[in-house]
């Protein structure tokens, strides 16, 4: 949390009552959503209700032992994040306190209370290179210089969005810390690398545009069937054990975004540790540098205070917007938005608000749409273009998608990746149900796939969808009468569809090669299945019995394409082999 700049300390109040994370204070002069420090230990909290001279505060830390009569101190500013170089390769809690710094300050592996730390290192110096010269006129949002933040990312130093702008009177290159002035304007305004921004407020932009470029995930079922656009929104709902977190991790690892903000909201501590341990060692597929160099982690695990869980998604998206302003494509993963919604519910119930559906507050839908609307492909105020893609996991109770969080999310997002417990049970991963999922970006992204992968991408994909659809229908009959009762052509379709499922849709996230699949390879595996399909139907028409067609030894090799490093050659050989083996049959 931001405490880098001095703010006027406003009049103090006195605690009136304490109930879990909700504290009320008397005589506190604070505005709605202001940050306050509660009790003699100075626990951080936020004003969420004002009634007469009673102010209600949600506290971001444990409140055990806090008693009425203790002081409450206002800061006069809303919950903000510190923005500036040093956010990448960092791991924060829900209110942007760096967890590594907290460990050091607390001297313990356990999270103590009342310790605060700025979100970025205020002492560290960065090498600043000017992008403008003395005499240039700059406006709010303009880039005045760059700082090599990590080997992958140049951090752009921008004029704050609320600045009046003016003419540059002094600027020089050199090493500065984030609080030193790097640019002076004729208006007397001094610009530092450090900015602050209130988390609940969207950073300004010029215009939201229609996204036309896919966010390539390297996951065949996503890129192939249900692509998400750069600047798009997606939801991944699924019961526990269906692979939400693995899918989110895969996206964080392989998505071709410039920056990844990963928000672990109310999830498992060990999972965050896995990310912290894995990411520095993994290679970013686009730059070859460590994956951590482009990643900002926000970890508010399920046992950390509930109010900070409510704020962590806002902290995440504000950081994402800041990088968007530099012209980067940012992908934000929130795992899981259900925990965020539950945090809202918990606080709402402590406030004794009238509950809506299933005890969730009536404003659930509004909060969700507000959040997802901060995603998009934007023209920034400095003229650059950048995007924020948001991918939210949803954890519906009992795997029932009709519950409020899933339903309200689906009303907003345009991509729906439905995870399926049955598929997970038979270890079909990623267990994304191809019959239920959808992507509304498909049509607007087709031109990109046609230009950058293959011109017949949409047709081939449609063939795959039709085959899988037909399989779903045929499976219903098979369940009743058995496979052998079907006509030969339908038996063949089932066989082809099986290869589509096993060779194409399934992907092993834990296999070094298979974990990432470039669009070209996605296309070629799909196309190899189609080659088999076409040749097989030709053979069938020529009178070859279906058993002989499905028995050729080349066919099972389709399932091994995923793990091949030299897949191009492998597929060339395999297609020839399949065709020649089938030719031999008639």
């Amino acid at each position: 949390m931001s405490q880098a700049t001095d703010t006027d300390v406003r009049e103090d109040g006195i605690i009136e009552s304490v109930s879990g994370p909700v504290v009320t204070a008397r005589d506190l002069d604070a505005r709605m959503n202001d940050v306050v420090y509660v009790g003699s230990e100075g626990l951080m909290g936020e004003v969420i209700e004002i009634e007469g001279n009673i102010t209600t505060i949600q506290v971001y830390e444990e409140t055990s032992g806090v008693s009425p009569g203790e002081p409450v101190e206002g800061t006069g500013s809303p919950l903000s994040v510190d923005l500036g170089p040093g956010m990448l390769d960092a791991i924060y809690d829900g209110v942007q306190r760096p967890l590594d710094v907290l460990e050091e300050k607390m001297g313990s592996a356990f999270l103590d209370r009342g310790v605060d730390a700025p979100g970025i290192d205020l002492e560290k110096t960065w090498e600043f290179t000017p992008e403008v010269e003395e005499g240039d006129a700059v406006e709010a949002g303009d880039i005045v210089g760059t700082v090599p933040e990590t080997p992958s990312i140049d951090h752009k130093v921008m004029v704050p969005p609320d600045s009046e702008g003016g003419e540059v009177v002094a600027i020089e290159s050199g090493n500065f810390n984030v609080e030193e002035t790097v640019v002076e304007l004729d208006s007397g305004e001094e610009i530092q690398m450090h900015q602050e921004w209130p988390v609940r407020q969207q950073r300004p932009t010029v215009e939201k545009e229609t996204p036309t470029e896919p966010l390539i995930s390297g996951q065949r079922v996503l890129d192939g069937l249900f692509p998400i656009a750069k600047g798009g929104t997606a939801a991944i709902p699924g019961p526990f054990g269906s692979g939400k977190t693995v899918t989110q991790h895969q996206l964080a690892k392989w998505a071709d975004a410039d920056i990844v903000v990963y928000v672990g909201c109310g999830e498992r501590g060990n999972e965050m540790t896995e990310v912290i341990e894995d990411f520095p060692e993994l290679e970013d597929p686009t730059t070859g540098n460590a994956l951590m160099d482009r990643t900002c982690l926000i970890a508010n695990t399920s046992n950390m205070p509930v109010a900070a869980r409510e704020s962590c998604v806002y902290t995440g998206i504000t950081i994402a917007e800041y990088f968007r302003d530099m012209g980067y494509d940012v992908a934000l993963m929130a795992d899981s938005t259900s925990r965020w919604a539950e945090a809202m519910r918990e606080i709402s119930s402590r406030l004794e608000e009238m509950p809506g559906e299933e005890g969730y507050p009536a404003y659930l839908s509004a909060r969700l749409s507000e959040f997802y609307e901060r995603a998009g492909y934007f023209e920034n105020i400095n003229g650059t273009e950048g995007s924020v893609s948001v991918i939210g996991a949803v954890s519906p109770p009992g795997g029932d998608f009709s519950e409020p969080v899933t339903q309200n999310t689906l009303r907003i997002v345009k991509t729906f990746w439905a995870l399926d417990a049955d598929l997970a049970e038979r270890r079909h991963f990623p267990s994304i149900n191809w019959n239920e999922s959808y992507s509304l970006y498909r049509d607007q992204l087709d031109p990109w796939f046609e230009d950058n992968v293959r011109a017949d991408w949409p047709e081939t994909r449609q063939w795959a969808i039709d085959t899988l659809d037909e399989e779903a229908e045929l499976q219903e009959i098979v369940q009743l009468v058995g496979k052998d009762a079907l006509p030969e052509d339908q038996q063949l379709t089932l066989e082809i569809a099986r290869y589509l499922r096993e060779a194409w849709l399934q992907q092993n996230a834990f296999h070094d090669v298979d974990t990432f699949c470039e669009p070209e390879k996605t296309y070629r595996i799909m196309d190899a299945a189609k080659t088999y399909n076409d040749a097989a139907f030709e053979a069938l028409d020529a009178g070859v019995p279906v058993e002989e067609i499905t028995d050729i030894d080349a066919a099972p090799r389709l399932n091994r394409i995923g793990v091949q490093e030299d897949w191009n050659e492998y597929i060339d050989d395999l297609e020839d082999e399949i065709e020649s083996q089938l030719r031999e049959l008639y």
């Binding site: 605690i15 109930s19 038979r426």
Partner: protein
């Protein structure tokens, strides 16, 4: 310490007291009844002129004249290595007639969250000797893996079997760092019957495990509210032993369903807005505060592994208790009624079971290089066989292809040979995997599409298929 005789309301497990001095949230309270009996409770809500207190031992017999003392501190637990071998009640008072506990330290029972940055990722394989777990849903040190069971199923036998057999293979070989990292079992019972408790105690005594165990007993006839602190005492002890004294601690908590019932009771008494099925809206957070206390910490020897047991009401895993648990824990082990009635011991249904930490805990150098592939293939083949069972009921075995018949046989043999092993057999991971290969070799080689070709060459039993064909003929 101020004493009040200003109780205004008594309702269920709650007592409301008027106060004129501020009282800390979560602070411990002593209530002295007119007959001199003392009860303990905790502050649930603190306002400037009154507090709400939750009384652990129940409010029976409390009247408005009872006097209330606020101790000015939150609930603490005396911890020491000497707790090993001791039996306590649900509030941490010794009930084994042993000497008084001289604490090294007094620790807050709520416990602070482990900084995710300070955690160490769990990847040390624990061999439980149970094939369905070791082979298919491997447990690792620092994991929390609940057993999803239901009334009338032998979940306790499984928990005991694991507590008895659990070892870490490599360490035995090294043998030298035994001193630094001993194994301890903490048993937290919440609302279980005296008979079940005896079953556990008898087994602990029979196997000599009691010496390295700490037992907390809240029985079915003990006050329900007390159940909310029993697991916290157990976990506070576990953290102390693991992170201060370098023990590898296995915490068995049973039955989490009773714990959640107690939460609901308190919530209802406080007239809170209920969430699903009347359980409080904060149950996820509350359960997480227990389950997340499992783990490893960088730079410390010990670990806390949790094995909570819960009985699913109506065998329904969408019920809030198993549902919320599944979202927090790192997998789950399902005990299956059908398998149990078939006499399979332990009746673990591997298909819906899952260990999330498995993939990093197995493989070369940890278990065996072929472990992951074998597991994937068995899952796929068993799922296929399970599916076919439905079909076979309609069309009969003859209508199925040869391969389909093999899958059916595979599923049967998998249950009878792999899963069924009795409660006293401990299988090493090698035995488990070899058994897996025996079964997989029933299937033709090219059906093993999840296994690396080299591994098939190395392990596939060529004659096994021949035998199967002969047997069929």
């Amino acid at each position: 310490m101020k004493e009040y005789q200003t109780i205004t309301e008594i309702s269920g497990p709650l007592v409301f007291v008027e106060t004129d001095e501020p009282v800390g949230y979560d602070d411990i309270v002593e209530i002295e009844l007119s007959d001199g009996e003392t009860r303990r409770g905790q502050v649930l809500e603190s306002a400037s002129d009154y507090v709400a207190i939750q009384v652990f031992e129940g409010t029976e017999g409390i009247d408005r004249d009872a006097s209330v003392r606020f101790l000015g501190e939150t609930m603490k637990m005396p911890v020491t290595e000497d707790l090993l071998g001791r039996v306590m009640d649900g509030t941490g008072q010794p009930i084994d007639g042993g000497p008084e506990i001289v604490p090294d330290e007094r620790r807050d029972i709520v416990g602070e969250a482990i900084n995710p940055f300070s955690r160490e990722y769990p990847e040390e394989f624990i061999q439980t000797g149970v094939s369905a777990i070791d082979g298919m849903n491997t447990l690792v040190r620092g994991q929390k893996l609940p057993i999803f069971s239901a009334s009338g199923l032998p979940h306790n036998d499984l928990a005991l079997q694991i507590a008895r057999q659990a070892t870490v293979p490599e360490e035995e070989e090294e043998g030298d760092d035994d001193e630094g990292s001993e194994f301890a079992v903490i048993f937290g019972a919440m609302g279980i019957t005296a008979e079940e408790a005896n079953e556990f105690m008898d087994d602990f005594e029979r196997t000599g495990a009691l010496e390295r165990s700490v037992v907390f007993m809240n029985l079915a006839d003990d006050p329900a509210v007390e159940r909310t602190i029993t697991p916290r005492l157990a976990l506070t002890t576990a953290e102390y032993l693991a992170f201060e004294k370098d023990y590898h601690v296995l915490v068995i908590l049973t039955d989490m369903t009773n714990y959640c019932e107690a939460l609901r009771e308190i919530g209802a008494a406080r007239e809170e807005v209920p969430g699903r099925r009347g359980y409080p809206g904060y149950m996820y957070t509350d359960l997480a505060q227990l389950y997340e206390r499992a783990g490893r910490i960088e730079g410390r020897e010990g670990s806390v592994t949790q094995l909570p047991i819960l009985t699913m009401p109506g065998d329904d895993d969408t019920h809030p208790i198993p549902d919320l648990t599944g979202y927090i824990t790192e997998g789950q082990i399902y005990i299956d009624r059908d398998l149990n009635s078939q006499g399979i011991q332990p009746p673990i249904n591997v298909l819906p079971s899952l260990s999330r930490l498995m993939d990093d805990g197995i493989g070369e150098g940890l278990t065996r290089a072929d472990h992951a592939d074998v597991k994937d293939q068995i899952f796929a083949a068993y799922a296929e066989g399970e599916d076919l069972r439905d079909l076979v009921n309609i069309v009969g075995r003859e209508a199925l292809s040869e391969l389909d018949n093999k899958y059916l046989d595979f599923a049967d043999r998998f249950e009878e040979e792999f899963v069924d092993q009795g409660t006293d057999t401990a299988r090493s991971i090698d035995e488990t995997l070899e058994l897996g290969w025996d079964l997989l070799s029933m299937l033709p080689k090219d059906a093993l599409n999840r296994i690396d070709e080299d591994l098939i060459e190395e392990h596939y039993r060529e004659d096994e298929t021949a035998e199967a064909v002969e047997a069929e003929a």
